[in-house]
C-alpha cells in the first residue's frame, strides 16, 4: 500500500502528517521539539526511515536531530538513546550541533568577510541551518545549507559536519550580502545523472554550480536582472529565492527570484524570464510536477513590501509549458481575505501516479492537492507559521 509522509517545519516545532495513497484522511503527529524553530526536515531518498531535522533557537543555537524509524523516535547524531554520553575519558560524544567554518590553510582563502547591510565588510558568523539535503544514494551523507551562507557536509550520519569551503572561498564571498531574512544558503539541488554536479542558491548572492563534487564553484547568474543592486546585471548580489529541477532533466532549472520567475536550459549558464502572464512575479516557492518536467508551480506574492497574495486570493499558478503561460489554481483555496505568505522551502510534490502538490503558509495551514493542483484542501489549519514542507512517497 502506498502512502505519503509530509514533514512540516514550523516556528514552534515539527509535525509529521501521514496518509495513504488516496491522501484524503490524515494523521498528525507532533509537535516534535516543541517551542523550537524547525527550519527544515527531510528524509533520505536512500532510506525513507532516515529523517534529519534542523532544530534551532535564537537562545540556544543549532541542534541536528535524526530519526532512524520514520519519525517515531529521535536522537542527536552521536548520542543514541541509552548510550553513554561521554567517552571513557569523559569527552563529549555529540558533535552534531557543531558547524565551524573552515579556516584551514588548505582552502587558500580562510574565513574572511562578506558584505553587511550597510555596505561594510562583516565577518562570517554561523547562525543556523536553513536547509538539509540528504544524499541520493547514502543515508549517512547529508548536505546542510547554513546562515551565514556556506555549505556543510556530513558523511557519518550527522555526527560531524565539515564545510565545503570552496564555495565560500571561491572569490566572490566579499560581495555576498544578507537579504532581510539573513544571508542563508537555502537551495541545494543534487544531479541524479551526474554525482559530481550540484547547485546551490544564496540570498542575496545568487546561484552557484559545482562540477567536481563541491571542490570548486562558479556563479551562474547570467541573465538575472536585479534593480536593487548597483549593477542590475552583476555576476553576484541577486536575491534568488528558490530553484527547482526535474530529476529526469537536470540541466533545466526553474528559479523564483526576489522578482522574476526565470528558467535556464543549460545548467544555469544563461537564464531567461518566464514570468509571462503571472499577476506578480514576486514570490518564494517554485516546484516541478513529479511526472511532467515542463509543468511547474509558483505562488505569486504581491510584492517585496507586501508579503501576501495579491487581492487577498490564495492562488497557485501552474504552467504546463515550462513557463510564460500560467493558469491560476484556486479550487479549495481561500479566495478572499487571505494574507498569508508561503516561504521558500514550503512547497513539495509527491511522486504517486497522480502527483500530489503541497504547500504550507505562515498562517499555519498545509494545503494538499492529490491531482496536480486541480483540487485543494487543508490537511491542517492551525499549526504555527510553516517554515518548510517536504514530502516522502512511501511504497
Amino acid at each position: 500500500m502506498s502512502g505519503v509522509r509530509v514533514l512540516v517545519g514550523t516556528k514552534k516545532g515539527a509535525f509529521i502528517l501521514t496518509s495513504d495513497g488516496k491522501r484524503a484522511k490524515w494523521e498528525v503527529s507532533g509537535p516534535h521539539f516543541a517551542g523550537w524553530e524547525i527550519y527544515h526536515m527531510k528524509g533520505s531518498p536512500a532510506d525513507p526511515n532516515r529523517l534529519y531535522v534542523s532544530q534551532t533557537s535564537g537562545w540556544f543555537g543549532q541542534i541536528i536531530q535524526r530519526s532512524d524509524d520514520g519519525g517515531k523516535t529521535w536522537h542527536q547524531p552521536g548520542l543514541k538513546p541509552g548510550e553513554p554520553t561521554t567517552t571513557p575519558e569523559g569527552m563529549p560524544m555529540a558533535e552534531s550541533n557543531k558547524f565551524v567554518y573552515d579556516t584551514s590553510p588548505e582552502t587558500g582563502k580562510p574565513l574572511t568577510t562578506h558584505q553587511w547591510y550597510d555596505g561594510t565588510q562583516h565577518p562570517w558568523e554561523f547562525k543556523r541551518v536553513w536547509h538539509i539535503e540528504p544524499s541520493l544514494t547514502d543515508p549517512d551523507t547529508v548536505y546542510a545549507g547554513v546562515e551565514d551562507a556556506a555549505l556543510f557536509r556530513t558523511t557519518d550520519g550527522g555526527k560531524n559536519w565539515h564545510e565545503l569551503s570552496g564555495l565560500r572561498g571561491h572569490g566572490t564571498g566579499p560581495q555576498w550580502m544578507p537579504g532581510a531574512g539573513g544571508m542563508g544558503l537555502h537551495t541545494i539541488l543534487l544531479d541524479r545523472q551526474n554525482p559530481n554536479r550540484m547547485y546551490v542558491a544564496i540570498s542575496a548572492a545568487g546561484a552557484f554550480r559545482t562540477d567536481d563534487a563541491g571542490k570548486s564553484w562558479k556563479p551562474i547568474n547570467k541573465g538575472l536582472t536585479s534593480q536593487y543592486i548597483p549593477d542590475p546585471n552583476a555576476e553576484i548580489g541577486h536575491c534568488v529565492h528558490r530553484i527547482a529541477m526535474h530529476p529526469s532533466r537536470p540541466d533545466v532549472l526553474f528559479m523564483q527570484k526576489h522578482w522574476d520567475v526565470m528558467r535556464s536550459d543549460n545548467a544555469g549558464e544563461l537564464w531567461h524570464e518566464i514570468s509571462g502572464n503571472l499577476p506578480t512575479d514576486f514570490g518564494f516557492v517554485v516546484d516541478v510536477h513529479a511526472h511532467e518536467p515542463n509543468t511547474i508551480y509558483v505562488v505569486p506574492i504581491k510584492s517585496d513590501s507586501e508579503h501576501f497574495p495579491p487581492e487577498g486570493k490564495l492562488r497557485v499558478y501552474r504552467s504546463r509549458t515550462g513557463g510564460n503561460e500560467w493558469e491560476p489554481l484556486t479550487k479549495g483555496l481561500p479566495q478572499r481575505d487571505c494574507y498569508v505568505d508561503i516561504l521558500r522551502d514550503a512547497m513539495a510534490v509527491d511522486s504517486l501516479d497522480s502527483c500530489g502538490i503541497y504547500f504550507g503558509t505562515t498562517g499555519g495551514q498545509v494545503y494538499a492537492s492529490p491531482d496536480g493542483g486541480e483540487n485543494w484542501s487543508a490537511i491542517v489549519h492551525d499549526l504555527p507559521a510553516v517554515l518548510s514542507v517536504e514530502v516522502q512517497t512511501l511504497r
Partner: protein, 98 residues
C-alpha cells in the same frame, strides 16, 4: 556539589530536571561549571556558549545569589554560596515574546 538551574528548553534537550547537580574540581568559576555541565550533558555543548569563541550566547544570562553575573569574567570565582551548593547558578533565557 554545584547546583545549576537550566531553562525549559535545555532541560528537555538534556532530559534533565530543572536543577542539576555537578561535581566541579578546582576553582568554581563560570568556565569550570559550564565545562562540567557540558561533560555531563554533551548535548548542551554549543547551546550556552559558542562552540568556537566559548562566549556566552547573546540571549542567555547567568544569575546567582540575587546578582547578575553575566558580564563577569568566565574565570572569576563564583560566589561562595554557589561553590558550597547553598545557592544555585542560574542559566536564564532572556525574556522575549513570540
Amino acid at each position: 556539589m554545584i547546583r545549576v538551574g537550566l531553562p525549559y528548553h535545555l532541560r528537555n534537550l538534556a532530559k534533565a530536571d530543572a536543577e542539576v547537580q555537578l561535581q566541579v574540581e578546582g576553582p568554581v568559576t563560570q568556565r569550570t561549571v559550564l565545562n562540567a555541565l557540558e561533560a555531563r550533558y554533551p548535548m548542551l555543548a554549543g547551546t550556552i556558549r559558542d562552540h568556537v569563541t566559548q562566549k556566552r550566547r547573546a540571549f542567555l544570562r547567568f544569575f546567582a545569589c540575587g546578582e547578575d553575573l553575566s558580564l563577569e569574567s568566565p574565570d572569576a570565582p563564583l560566589p561562595e554560596k554557589v561553590a558550597t551548593g547553598e545557592e544555585p547558578f542560574l542559566i536564564i533565557g532572556a525574556i522575549a515574546g513570540g
